[in-house]
Symmetry: C2
């Protein structure tokens, strides 16, 4: 074992552990979007050791000579053989901003969890009914299933409460029996497991309000930033799968415990959880082998709503409480999308609605004319800031908005120096660059003298020849955290074009399947963090969405999470989620020549609609 | 920690551990019927240590001066403070003898576990159904509940078997999915948890035969021989309860593993278990707080049939398989009695039947005239050989039959020297002593000269004045293992009278409740080991049973275990067990003056019928 020191923390690790693993062991975070493959170049750390060292190819690619000299390495590339001290530039965690529709949509409260305060008759020699029989015969619900774990301690509970107790039911299930009348307290949690971020909402189920909420980076990040890396890791065997499952549950439990402490709520007072996530996240959360989600034909293990006992998953709540995972539609249209459909009321809206949720994957739902059509496409990680030289998540220091007039104007999360650019900033930047003539409709940097001439001087100054191709300086070194110029390369623009081409081609195929023109879409609902931050004009400007009037485009915030809350608070909403998931017709794009054609056409910024 | 040596085994124990606990830790057994209270005097062990030592009151009572001098102590009285070497006269385990009806009663096979070999269609891009949906749509059973643990590994199972698999169903539950066609192998276990002995039968559920069986002393013995001691221990808190539960499951698992090895059966091929036991044993097996079974009004936590997942109990079988515990009727009429009713076909027999199962408790069932009446009475431990000076369980060396003519003739289990007397031997002895005139109808030893005169000389010689009262020598020292005379004291006879009085009073009340005369009973069915070994003439001779013709009295062997087997092999039989348990009218004797009156009358050997 060797000692690895991180500022004020020392961990002992086996020799030949990578720094990235050591960072995880120390409970620290370092950005990594390729899952340790050495292809994103983001996991830079500074190492202090006397051991000789020669950089890997990946390190030579991503690090400058002066960085290498100063001891910077890629954490995923470097294994440790001696004691070392390591400096991480720790990221502040994802910043949460208020959404258009952060308030819970109004629904009629009808949770499946009900509390019944009861005064039971005391047993006598004339009335020797068992404790269980005595209890269930006083309840309105018939045919209650026997629960060994509740029965185990039932005698004490009944007698501690002097036979005054409160029974907690969830449909036909008895969840708990509590001494005395506790009917005034009843909590549940709604969970949104994103590939990048997990969010927990603690709800008061009697009042139908969010009592508290919290979020953190999905701790599965250490297995890779994208779903494929995590599937690949989990496919390594039952132990790996369990490790991945344990990671996300551990993270969720940390949040839930904090929320409980904050609100003075006991673990046993959380009676139900509703979970949404993409299909891979749902499989991993449940500890179900996701292997065959990765290769075509992308087969999930389950599609229906799943309902398991909390203790089976180790989730921090009443151990006999149920954890519901909303149904998914397909391998890449998950319960998060179903949650978004629910929150958007896709089944109740007049006309035709398009829900678009863009992350590493883009999921699209077109509802109307009594049909619900879904598709998904790998958008590539560009929208999440990955595989972009200076890309980053929407965290402090990320450029989130760009405008170009006489010069480039930036808006940065947190307002400090620039660290990189996040997805919404990237779309803004490219839309503005296209509008200003820095790039052409085909995505190439302007190079003809007559094209360059028309650019304002301060803008033209930013367009320069980089190592191989042209690049555009978004932020000069004096304004950046690292002191380097933050640039967008031709490659970065290509990455965005690929993402955008896939999304617009998906929308085109959905519209065609429904037999309408893209302009007949009555509303576009942008879901998720990305949809929340994106400037609508920019999305239209790069041809990502059909050219609809701006007022038809709406951000609906974390609709997936809202759907989870609604399903928690009402069995009617839950039923609607199930119905919509069953009704949905999934259009598999991956094997369609038509999709390839539209995709190629959609790469340009003039759009295909 | 100190070292305690048992012949070839050394265990390390905390200082101040009792020898009885150390014996248990070493996995050894020593007889103890009072649960470590120092009142039975049976846990004699010889200790070799140099530590000074002064005997307790209990030791002075039960051990002779020469025994004390030779280092004999009572294991439960003596705590260890120094390293010591201890000699145990280990008991051979309970001897199992063939019963009248050891063969399984003929029933129509209809197990709830069914296997379906299936050839599934392989998924394609056109058929993206989930693995679960693909599976369940190929099964005849609709509405199958989702199982996370099966789903967790389903993808691999389907693909390992090339989509040829076998689904194992238990009613609406999917228990397992196995690669390839495994429909030719299907096993289950029937378990009879006696307070003294646990028995496991491994059944081939396709053929309906017992493939193997095994038994051992209930390892809960270390918490006391009787149910009350064990309830008292388990009432000490959740950890104690768990300890008691773990003990019996550990013992059962040991047997099941051995049977599996013997028959080359895998743990996962045991799909179901049916368990019977008295109500306390059932509670303890399930880890359910039995505290309120002990005091009046003797309230069980459950009465209905209970069905839990094997992994919840830790039973060695398929972890998702179900463990069914047959229903009980009352706190002291358990699923073992229900099993006996089932095996005896109490609901199908013509006329009136009396089932009697005597152990520490006597359970009686009177069925007929469209009624099933039950009662139970503490018989005292006399019938199991406890609280009798030289009493012992029906193990090797136990006198099991006695006849008196010119002298006393004994039959001993194993045929070797006499070690003590078991329950059936005790009844025989007392019936014969009463017949020969050694004791009077009221249970006193003959003392008048004219009474003594008529006894054969060799018999008269055996009747002598003991320390306080008269005693009768059953076996002379030359024939006994210990070299001591084995005697029956006046106190021993009183103990049997109490037991016998309670049973006969119980029968009287049942008969009266049904409104018939005892002589209208068409058959008496003696269940359990005791019923198997008892000489019917002797049972009639002491007035234990109504004076019916001998041909109306039958031993039905381990009817409880047979009932468990039947319920395992047929859902119809299982349904009958539930119906009978519900139909049964339990007569609580403890608060009835009428019972007290009959009990007092029934103490004499002339009987009350």
């Amino acid at each position: 074992m060797i000692d690895i020191t991180f500022s004020n923390k020392v961990v002992q690790v086996e020799k030949d552990t990578t720094i990235l693993q050591a960072v995880a062991l120390a409970g620290r975070q370092v950005e990594s979007t390729c899952g340790g493959k050495g292809t994103c170049g983001k996991c830079k750390v500074q190492i202090k050791t006397d051991a000789p060292y020669s950089p890997t190819l990946a390190e030579k690619k991503f690090l400058t000579a002066s960085e290498l000299e100063a001891g910077w390495v890629l954490a995923c590339q470097h294994t440790l053989t001696h004691n070392a001290s390591i400096r991480i530039e720790e990221q502040k965690d994802v910043v949460h901003r208020k959404t258009d529709l952060a308030e819970l949509r109004e629904i009629e409260l009808a949770p499946s969890v009900c509390k019944y305060p009861l005064e039971l008759e005391r047993p006598t020699v004339e009335d020797q009914r068992s404790d269980w029989e005595r209890l269930v015969s006083a309840l309105p619900e018939r045919g209650l299933r026997f629960s060994r774990s509740i029965a185990a301690t039932l005698p004490k509970v009944l007698r501690d409460g002097g036979f005054q107790i409160t029974a907690v039911l969830d449909g036909h299930r008895l969840l708990a029996v509590e001494p005395h009348d506790t009917s005034k307290r009843c909590f549940g949690i709604a969970i949104d497991i994103g590939t990048t971020t997990v969010v927990v909402y603690l709800l008061d189920m009697l009042q139908g309000i969010v009592a508290a909420s919290g979020a953190m980076t999905n701790p599965q990040q250490i297995f890779g930033a994208d779903v494929i890396s995590r599937i690949t890791y989990a496919a390594g065997g039952p132990e790996k799968l369990q490790e991945v499952q344990g990671k996300v549950v551990g993270g969720l439990n940390k949040i839930i415990k904090e929320l409980c402490q904050e609100k003075n709520i006991k673990q046993e007072e959380i009676y139900q959880a509703v979970v949404v996530g993409n299909t891979t996240m749902a499989h991993l959360f449940l500890g179900i082998d996701p292997t065959y989600l990765a290769p075509a034909p992308f087969i999930p293990v389950f599609q229906q709503m799943v309902d398991v006992e909390a203790k089976e998953l180790g989730l921090y709540m009443l151990s006999t409480g149920r954890v519901l995972v909303l149904p998914n539609v397909a391998g890449y249209v998950g319960s998060d999308t179903v949650g978004a459909m629910l929150a958007a009321r896709a089944d109740h809206l007049d006309g035709v609605s398009l829900i678009v949720d863009i992350g590493t994957n883009g999921e699209m739902v077109l509802s109307g004319k009594n049909r619900i059509l879904t598709c998904s496409t790998a958008a590539g990680p560009a929208f999440e800031g990955a595989e972009i030289r200076y890309g980053m998540r929407a965290a402090e220091g990320a450029i989130e908005a760009v405008s170009i007039a006489q010069d480039v104007e930036l808006k940065t999360i947190g307002g400090g120096k620039d660290r990189g650019i996040c997805g919404s900033g990237l779309i803004d930047a490219i839309a503005e660059m296209f509008k200003a003539g820095v790039i052409t409709a085909s995505g190439r940097y302007a190079s003809e003298p007559e094209d360059l001439e028309i650019l304002p001087p301060l803008v033209r100054e930013r367009l320069r020849k980089g190592e191989q191709t042209f690049e555009f300086v978004l932020a000069w070194g004096k304004d950046s955290v690292s002191g380097e110029d933050l640039v967008l390369s031709q490659k970065d623009i290509r990455a965005l074009q690929l993402a955008k081409g896939a999304i617009s081609a998906g929308i085109t195929l959905l519209v065609r399947e429904m037999g309408i023109s893209p302009l007949e879409i009555d509303r576009v609902l942008l879901a998720g963090a990305f949809g929340n931050y994106i400037k609508k004009e920019s999305a239209l400007g790069i041809g990502l969405l059909p050219p609809l009037p701006l007022e038809r485009i709406h951000s609906i915030g974390n609709a997936a999470g809202d759907g989870a809350k609604m399903a928690l608070l009402s069995i009617i909403e839950r039923g609607r989620a199930e119905t919509m998931a069953k009704q949905a017709e999934h259009i598999e794009l991956s094997n369609k020549k038509e999709f390839q054609d539209e995709f190629l056409k959609g790469l340009g910024f003039e759009g295909i609609f």
